[in-house]
């Protein structure tokens, strides 16, 4: 019998999101290994009772649960937590058979540093523990917006075109290659029913550029984004000031 995976895609931004982009990349690699994947978007799953039940059934049948979620204010967003609560409730009500299941999580942060994701990954681990699911580890991804814009395989192809001495190799090519290799290795382990070794995940624990460069880059973007709405000069408004 084929192994099964339930993919919980937890960003409200749908296919414009990093959670979708990175999560789907893992899904494609799992499918190459013959694993059958069922995908559930958090937003639709929570809106529709039938979908919720389908998700529970899929979790029940699955060997692997994959969560890909944004980081909102140091934790997963409401929708991710709600999905976890629904799974926990099903577990408490005896609706989940006692087969071996692994949980793997991808946490996508806007800030550059990977470690903003550490707490939420620990929360996922506790969720797994509470529901007799084996915690297989997680990917702490910083500056995840990059991958919302450029899916990893396409991005790597684009980056191949850069001349060797181009400074963007240090900021983008190197980190993306490391991420790609950790993802591939994670999929290999998980497909074999193994957890992902801590040493493998630790390879993501680096900061690819000076913090100031990232801050300046991001800060230049906000006025541009606000221009479209005529709000360029209102970015620092204080509408609720006492």
């Amino acid at each position: 019998m084929s192994r099964q995976l339930t993919f919980l895609m937890c960003s409200p931004r749908g296919d414009k999101s990093a959670s979708h982009s990175i999560g789907s990349y893992l899904v494609s690699l799992f499918e190459e290994k013959g694993i059958v994947v069922k995908t559930f978007g958090a937003y639709r799953t929570l809106k529709n009772q039938e979908k919720t039940e389908e998700m529970i059934k899929s979790v029940n049948d699955s060997d692997i649960i994959l969560i890909s979620s944004p980081l909102y204010i140091d934790q997963a967003p409401y929708m991710t937590i709600k999905l976890m609560d629904i799974i926990s409730e099903a577990f408490q009500q005896g609706k989940l058979s006692n087969k071996t299941r692994h949980l793997f999580a991808i946490s996508n942060a806007g800030f550059l540093e990977y470690y903003h994701n550490n707490i939420t990954l620990k929360i996922y681990e506790q969720f797994a523990k509470q529901n007799d699911i084996i915690w297989a580890g997680g990917l702490p991804i910083g500056a995840a917006g990059t991958y919302a814009q450029y899916p990893i395989p396409e991005f790597l192809k684009m980056l191949e075109q850069l001349p060797e001495e181009d400074p963007r190799n240090e900021i983008y090519t190197k980190p993306t290659k490391i991420l790609d290799s950790v993802i591939r290795s994670s999929v290999n382990h998980l497909s074999k029913g193994e957890i992902v070794p801590r040493d493998e995940l630790k390879k993501l624990e680096f900061i690819p550029m000076p913090l100031e460069s990232y801050v300046n880059g991001a800060n230049n973007g906000w006025p541009q984004a606000a221009e479209e709405f005529g709000a360029k000069d209102k970015l620092r408004d204080k509408p609720y000031e006492r």
Partner: protein
């Protein structure tokens, strides 16, 4: 001085209402004015992650529902209190729904603060934060995560002072009172 309590209990919780009442009594005893929002009673839609509270209507969420009111109450209080069952070490879904919607309280602009990337302040003043989590029994892993989470929230919400407290459902009345009093004292809101 003012307070607001964001009560993130789930509907069937019979313990948190007691805690909520004790916290409100304590504030009133110290002549604070404020109120409690029982979050599950309010119509609050989830954050859409659109960043329009930063770039379209800066400071105000694009979704026009009670979530806006909660964000306003948060920034206009001197003491902000979260009460939540500890959920895998984190907050309840109910509480998290309201907190996600408060993103507009901070500025979109990034800065380096304490050697990490954080945001700039939107307002000149932010409330002190008291976070009270409940658990059926001690759980050192989850308590550690919870404490760390509150510390991270404080960094991101610029709270000048904060306190986090874990209360067990079988704590006796005197212990609960003491814990709550300590929490309020830590943020300097309790008279001796």
């Amino acid at each position: 001085m003012s307070y607001v309590i964001l009560n993130g209990m789930y509907k069937d919780d019979s313990f948190i209402p007691r805690i909520n009442q004790m916290v409100s009594d304590e504030f009133q005893r110290n002549n604070y004015v404020g109120d409690t929002v029982i979050l599950h009673d309010e119509e609050i839609k989830p954050c859409l992650g659109c960043f329009k509270c930063w770039v379209q209507t800066p400071g105000i969420c694009i979704i026009d529902d009670y979530g806006r009111e909660v964000a306003k109450k948060m920034i206009q209080s001197d003491v902000l209190v979260y009460i939540t069952p500890i959920n895998y070490g984190g907050y309840s879904a109910e509480l998290k729904k309201a907190i996600d919607r408060s993103l507009g309280l901070i500025s979109p602009f990034f800065r380096v603060y304490e050697n990490e990337i954080h945001h700039e302040m939107r307002y000149d003043e932010y409330p002190n934060l008291v976070v009270i989590g409940t658990l059926d029994k001690p759980n050192s892993d989850q308590e550690e995560i919870f404490t760390e989470l509150v510390q991270r929230n404080v960094l991101n919400l610029f709270c000048p002072k904060y306190s986090s407290q874990v209360i067990y459902t079988d704590d006796d009345e005197a212990t609960i009172k003491k814990k709550l009093k300590n929490s309020l004292m830590e943020v300097g809101e309790e008279n001796e």
